[in-house]
Symmetry: C2
Subunit: 408 residues, 2 copies
């Protein structure tokens, strides 16, 4: 429009950078937390939607349907039962808050607990958006080392002692003991016991994020932290995104009412979308076990395809631990390979992944790491995408060396 009004001078100060236009998915998409399209139980979701709408459809006329601002009572009931059966604790349904993804649960918890300048302890590698949100609340992040058994409790002890000497009381510990993001590690039970005991001794609550915990195929499901004795300083967060659908935007926090009542006061969204809650509750009550078992078989196969492709294309230059669950492979490339630059170059060839620095409290410590989500791309796309990635990486960084394997 020739005479278009100019809004540019009117924007608030200190806004984040404007979003870029969306141009569709890249052809080889290893980014984000997308799930497997062929894992969506379409016909069963139709059955569940039909049944629940017929039974409860009229309740869509009211904000928060028939259940109040904590969220659909049937979904909270389902989650309470599931936590009881599988995760070792039984929250009353009024101690569960349904949120728009576990991300909203985390945001509300962070806003509820953090004053600018507060110290928060967090895994050295962690969920990028959580790192950003914690910093957005003004938290000083103290990173704890991770090893193949997740968060290192020895290092945590040391940090807690040092902070005590400086008379700093950390606000909480944010961690993912069961299928960590991005490393996919699972903390063994004995280390969980230590984590609980030392955090409790120091009076520091824990926010336990189990958003990937359902996707575990090669390891026994350990009790959640909240499911163990002496864990009432643990706030438990979970999600429906990773084992059913991220687009439904359903997560939850299980916490005592004094915490939830303050989160609720900040949750100015008119309630989490009710149709997703109703359909998810109806579906999961009947089909959770079968659905997750089938999904895990699919995911494990895709993990194996990805590992084989990396071995073929990168040989020994790509290092990783084989994840016992989840949807991510955390890959270390040789020191000189700057994955942020690699990501930009690879995107031009249609290959998208998340560079490591975004998942690291200290971005400089992860310049040569990357995270690959293997849930979304087809097995063929995984193979082709990794071949292309190796080509781009070789071209720019001379890694992997040509002839590193026969097929190239």
């Amino acid at each position: 429009m020739s005479n278009a009004f100019d809004f540019d001078g009117l924007f608030a100060k200190d806004l984040p950078l404007p979003a870029a236009p969306w141009n569709g998915f890249p052809k080889y998409n290893f980014t984000g937390g997308h799930s497997d399209p062929d894992g969506i139980p379409v016909e069963k979701l139709i059955e569940s939607a039909t049944r629940v709408l017929r039974r409860r459809g009229k309740t869509l006329a009211t904000y928060n349907i028939d259940s109040g601002p904590l969220g659909d009572a049937e979904l909270r009931g389902y989650l309470a039962d599931k936590l009881d059966r599988y995760r070792g604790f039984t929250p009353p349904i009024d101690n569960i808050l349904i949120t728009s993804g576990s991300h909203q649960a985390l945001l509300l918890l962070f806003q509820t607990l953090i004053n600018p300048g507060d110290t928060v302890i967090c895994e050295a590698l962690s969920y990028g958006a959580a790192i950003g949100a914690l910093r957005g609340c003004g938290a000083n992040l103290v990173p704890v080392r991770l090893d193949e058994n997740a968060l290192c409790t020895d290092h945590l002890s040391e940090i807690l002692m040092n902070l005590r000497q400086k008379e700093i009381a950390p606000k909480f510990i944010y961690c993912m003991p069961t299928v960590q993001n991005p490393t996919s590690t699972v903390m063994p039970l004995d280390r969980r016991r230590v984590l609980l005991d030392i955090s409790r001794d120091f009076g520091v609550p824990i926010i336990e994020d189990e958003c990937y915990a359902d996707l575990l195929w090669d390891a026994k499901w350990p009790l959640s932290l909240r499911g163990m004795t002496g864990s009432d300083h643990v706030i438990h967060v979970g999600s429906v995104s990773k084992y059913l659908s991220p687009a439904l935007r359903l997560g939850y926090a299980a916490a005592p009412w004094p915490v939830l009542s303050r989160m609720l006061a900040l949750k100015a969204d008119g309630g989490t979308s009710a149709l997703a809650q109703m359909v998810a509750a109806e579906f999961l009550r009947d089909h959770y076990d079968d659905h997750v078992a089938a999904l895990n078989i699919r995911l494990k196969r895709k993990r194996d395809v990805l590992i084989r492709a990396l071995e073929e294309q990168f040989g020994a230059t790509a290092e990783f631990d084989v994840p016992p669950g989840g949807i991510y492979l955390w890959v270390k490339l040789p020191n000189g390979v700057a994955t942020t630059k690699l990501a930009a170059l690879a995107l031009e060839e249609g290959v998208a992944f998340n560079p490591g620095p975004q998942w690291s409290v200290d971005p400089d410590a992860a310049t040569h790491y990357l995270r690959l989500c293997f849930a979304y791309p087809s097995e063929e796309a995984i193979r082709e995408g990794i071949t292309k990635l190796a080509e781009v990486c070789h071209r720019e960084f001379d890694v992997p060396a040509r002839g590193a394997n026969v097929s190239r």
Copy 2:
């Protein structure tokens, strides 16, 4: 638990008051923006859900399904078409952002545009949560008078002149020209022309909130402000809540990309819930006209039941204009009747309504007003509820006088 961890000392400063536990709906519920349970098109929603899940269900595996962060492309396409057919303008679908209710659209706009200390012009009576959100962003609110034709442009002119003399440039005008909340007034076309011209002359954008505009039965649908010539300083906001379901949490903003790209950067929710978007798009494309026509007949009848009940129970002591649409009746009681106190007393008898001060930029100017939503309660509940309200009001305030009408 005897040994429960105490979170009380850990909360951030300056949190809002914690939420109160939810104890179910009151028996006679005239609060909020709930819709008519019997107006929910349950069987057609089932058909739509079945069809769209079968066609597009696999896309639920990805964040933002197949459409990117602006929201479901089919819903945006439907809305663009509807705005073209009924509201006089045709936004490209990339100038529409789907939000979790129009409330989220307003919050994002306010955050995008307001710096603390900015002046914002708003109707003297307005959406309570918008007044709160504007103040939360640090805006100084300048109220414009309303009359039976909505916002008074003479008063607006005067305000704009005064502000200019003080060298204050107001950030925007927030208004609801088509079925205003809470007064349900509709601004005639000639006044819309004046509003557009003077706001444009002063270089002040308008946020036009049409969240109730679909519910109009006794008046011709005037063009939206954005649908008139010389309106590219108008940002248009709408909702699916009031004519389909508030629990779906679907609203939208139509705005130029420079505005939307900044709203998107602040929209940290992982996307609006996709199932609601997909089902709504599928349903509305086929059934919008018939559905809204039928709903408006129901609502008009409930409005009439409410008016008759008020006339019978309150006689001349309850004053109101008959709304040509929407779901609210804005009622003036005699000066001495403090509706905030009345609301607390009535709630004990199971009657809930919104006291006027919450919908007034100057709460003291509306102490004896109340807002009644007539969409949710049944016709019987409307009659019984108003009878009870009159009893409580008489008992406490001697209004209405006993024997004000024969039936009491």
